[in-house]
C-alpha cells in the first residue's frame, strides 16, 4: 500500500508540473495586470509603475518568473501577495480554516441527511416515500444555491431576524460555539441542500444495487436480524462506491463554497480567490490553483486508497488489474 501511494504520488508530479505551467501561462496571458487598478490614479506616475513592476519581478521573462516561483514553492515560499503585502502562505492559512469549517460541516451535514434518506429510499424503492424524497432531491439539485442563499438572508435574517445574515462570528465577541453555529446555519444549509440531494441519489442507487445482491439474500437466509443485514452486509458495500466519490468530491467542495462565501460574507478561500483573480494578485492565484490541482490529484489518490481499504478484492500492492 505504502509503495502504491508513493508511486501514485510520483506519477502525480509531472501532472502537477504540467498544470502549474499551463495555469501560469493562462494567468499571465490575461489582459491587464496587477497594476491596472493603481494605474488609474492620475497621481501615480510612470516611475512608480516601473518600481512596482520591478518589485513584483514582473519585468523578468516569463520562464524565469516561472522558475523563480517553482523553486520558491518547492522551498515552501509561495511569494508575497501584491494586495496584502504578506506572504501568500500566511494569507491562505488565515482563510483556509474558515473554508474548511464551512465546507466540512456542510459535507457532514449533507451526509447526515443523505445516508439515512438514501438508504430508506433504496429499501422502499418506488414507494410513495421514495418518490417524495426523490422529488425533493431533484428540487434540491435544481435550486440555484446563490438564489436560495439570498432568499434565506432576506427572510430568515432580515425579515424574521432569527439568524445573523453573514460572517463567521459576532464581531468583537468572545468565541462561543453557539455563536459559530448560528452564523453557519444558513450557509451550511444552503450548500448542504444541493449536496445532500446529490448524495441521496448516489446512496440510493448504490444501496439499491447492493440490496439486490445475492449475498444480501444469503444474509437474510441465515436468519440475521434486519438491522444487521442492512448495517453490516448492506452499508459497507453500498458505501464503498460512495467512499471513493468522497475523495473526488474534495475539490468540488471548495468550488461550491466560492459563491456562497460571497453571499454570506464568509472570509474564506473562495473570496480570496475571486479577489485575487480580479486584481491579478498572481502569487495568490498561483498558490490557489496549485492547491486546487493538488487537492484534485490527492482526492483521486485518496479515493483509490479508500477503495482498497474498504474492498478486500482490490489489492494495490500489485499493479492495477484494471480491465
Amino acid at each position: 500500500m505504502g509503495k502504491y501511494v508513493l508511486r501514485r504520488l510520483l506519477n502525480a508530479i509531472p501532472i502537477l508540473i504540467g498544470i502549474t505551467i499551463i495555469s501560469f501561462t493562462i494567468i499571465h496571458m490575461a489582459p491587464g495586470g496587477p497594476l491596472s487598478a493603481i494605474a488609474e490614479d492620475p497621481t501615480i506616475k510612470a516611475i512608480d509603475k516601473e518600481n512596482l513592476i520591478a518589485s513584483y519581478g514582473l519585468d523578468k521573462p516569463l520562464p524565469v518568473q516561472y522558475w523563480d516561483w517553482l523553486t520558491g514553492m518547492l522551498q515552501g515560499d509561495f511569494g508575497t501577495s501584491y494586495l496584502k503585502n504578506e506572504p501568500v502562505t500566511k494569507v491562505i492559512l488565515e482563510r483556509l480554516p474558515n473554508t474548511l469549517l464551512f465546507t466540512i460541516s456542510s459535507f457532514v451535514v449533507s451526509l447526515l441527511i443523505a445516508i439515512p434518506l438514501g438508504i430508506i429510499c433504496a429499501i422502499k424503492a418506488n414507494s410513495r416515500l421514495d418518490r417524495i424524497v426523490s422529488g425533493f432531491s431533484f428540487v434540491g439539485m435544481s435550486i440555484p444555491g446563490f438564489w436560495l442563499g439570498l432568499m434565506l438572508i432576506m427572510f430568515i435574517a432580515v425579515k424574521l431576524g432569527w439568524l445573523p445574515s453573514g460572517g463567521m462570528q459576532t464581531i468583537n465577541a468572545e468565541f462561543s460555539l453557539w455563536d459559530r453555529i448560528e452564523h453557519l446555519i444558513m450557509p451550511v444549509f444552503t450548500l448542504a441542500l444541493a449536496e445532500a440531494a446529490v448524495w441521496t441519489r448516489y446512496i440510493r442507487s448504490s444501496m439499491l444495487e447492493v440490496i439486490h445482491q445475492d449475498y444480501m439474500r444469503t444474509a437474510k437466509a441465515k436468519g440475521l436480524s434486519g438491522s444487521r443485514v442492512l448495517n453490516v452486509h448492506g452499508m459497507r458495500n453500498a458505501l464503498m462506491p460512495i467512499a471513493t466519490l468522497l475523495g473526488l468530491a474534495i475539490p468540488g467542495l471548495f468550488a461550491g463554497s466560492l459563491i456562497l462565501e460571497a453571499i454570506f460574507t464568509l472570509p474564506g478561500m473562495g473570496r480570496l480567490f475571486t479577489e485575487a483573480a480580479f486584481q491579478r494578485d498572481y502569487p495568490v492565484l498561483f498558490a490557489i490553483t496549485t492547491m486546487g490541482a493538488f487537492l484534485t490529484v490527492a482526492g483521486s489518490i485518496i479515493s483509490d486508497v479508500l477503495y482498497a481499504i474498504l474492498d478486500p478484492r482490490v489489492s494495490l500492492s500489485k499493479s492495477e488489474v484494471k480491465g
Binding site: I15, I19, M29, F138, S142, W147, M154, G252, I259, G292
Partner: protein, 290 residues
C-alpha cells in the same frame, strides 16, 4: 417479456424501441420532456412570440407587476420581462445544449479511442484526461472567464473545455465492458473494420449512460452559467440570459418590491434543470431495466 414466436402466433409485431416505450410510460419524465421541448420551441420562436423587443426600455413603466400588457411584469429599466425571459431562454438553452453536445462529441471521441485501442493510446489519452481533471474546474472556469472576455462563445468554449473529461472516462469504461462482449468478437470474425465495429456495434451499446449524464449535465450547465452570471462573469447584458436577468435582480429593492423579476428567470432555471433531471432519470431507468 419476450415475444415468443410460437406456431400459432403468426402476427409479428412491429419492431419498437423498448427503452423508448419504457420512457414513455414514465409520466414525470414524459411531461418534463414535453416541457423542455416546449421551452426550446418557445425560445427559438422568441422573435415571433415576444410581444416586445427585449432591449426596448420604457423608463416610465419600471418594475411593473405582471399585467395583461406585460405578462411577467417589467424590469428596472421598464423592459418587458416576458420577452426577456423568452430571449434569455434562447441563450441559456443554447449555452447548455451546445456545450453539452460538444462535450459529448469530444468525450465520445477520446473515450472510444482510448477504450477501443487500449495500450499506449489509452495511457496517453487518459493521462491527458487526468491533467484536465486535475484542473480545479470552477477555479479554472473563473480564471479563464476573467481572462477572456465573457462572450457567449467564450463561455461555451470554457464550459466545453472543462466539461468533457467525465464523458470520456465514462465512455471508455463503457467501451471496455462492451468491447469484450461476444457480439463484438462476432463482428470481428466477419472481418469488419474497426471503424465500423466502433460505430455500428460498440457505440450504440455504450451511449446510454452518456446520454443520461448529458441530460443531467445540461441542467448543471444552466446552473453553472447562472452562477457565473452571479459572479458577473456570465453572459453579458444587454443580451439576456436567465442567469443574468436573475443577477440583475439581486438588489434588495427588486427582491422586495418586485419579486416577480427574480422569480421568473429563477423559476425558469429551476424548471429547466428539474425537467432535465427528470428526463435524465427517466432515461436511466428506461435504459437500465433492459
Amino acid at each position: 417479456m419476450n415475444v415468443v414466436i410460437s406456431q400459432n402466433n403468426p402476427v409479428i409485431e412491429k419492431p419498437k424501441n423498448r427503452s423508448w416505450e419504457r420512457f414513455k410510460r414514465n409520466k414525470l419524465a414524459m411531461i418534463s420532456l414535453i416541457i423542455l421541448i416546449a421551452l426550446i420551441i418557445l425560445s427559438v420562436l422568441a422573435p415571433l412570440i415576444a410581444p416586445y423587443d427585449p432591449a426596448e426600455q420604457d423608463l416610465l413603466s419600471r418594475l411593473q407587476a405582471p399585467s395583461w400588457e406585460h405578462w411577467f411584469g417589467t424590469d428596472d429599466l421598464g423592459r418587458d420581462l416576458f420577452s426577456r425571459v423568452l430571449y434569455g431562454g434562447q441563450v441559456s438553452l443554447a449555452v447548455s445544449i451546445i456545450s453539452v453536445v460538444f462535450t459529448v462529441i469530444i468525450g465520445i471521441t477520446v473515450g472510444s479511442l482510448a477504450g477501443y485501442y487500449g495500450g499506449k493510446v489509452d495511457s496517453i489519452l487518459m493521462r491527458f484526461v487526468d491533467v484536465m481533471l486535475a484542473f480545479p474546474t470552477i477555479f479554472m472556469l473563473i480564471t479563464v472567464v476573467t481572462l477572456l472576455k465573457p462572450s457567449l462563445m467564450n463561455i461555451i468554449i470554457v464550459l466545453i473545455a472543462f466539461g468533457w473529461m467525465g464523458k470520456a472516462r465514462l465512455l471508455r469504461g463503457q467501451i471496455l465492458s462492451v468491447k469484450n462482449r461476444e457480439f463484438v468478437d462476432a463482428a470481428r470474425t466477419i472481418g469488419m473494420s474497426d471503424f465500423r465495429i466502433i460505430f455500428r456495434h460498440i457505440l450504440p451499446n455504450s451511449l446510454s449512460p452518456i446520454l443520461v449524464s448529458a441530460t443531467l449535465q445540461m441542467g448543471s450547465m444552466i446552473l453553472t452559467e447562472s452562477s457565473l452570471s452571479f459572479l458577473g462573469l456570465g453572459i453579458q447584458p444587454p443580451t439576456a440570459s436567465w442567469g443574468n436577468i436573475l443577477q440583475g435582480a439581486q438588489s434588495l429593492k427588486i427582491m422586495m418590491e418586485a419579486p416577480w423579476v427574480p422569480f421568473m428567470p429563477g423559476f425558469m432555471i429551476f424548471l429547466t434543470i428539474m425537467c432535465f433531471n427528470f428526463v435524465g432519470d427517466g432515461l436511466r431507468s428506461a435504459f437500465d431495466s433492459r
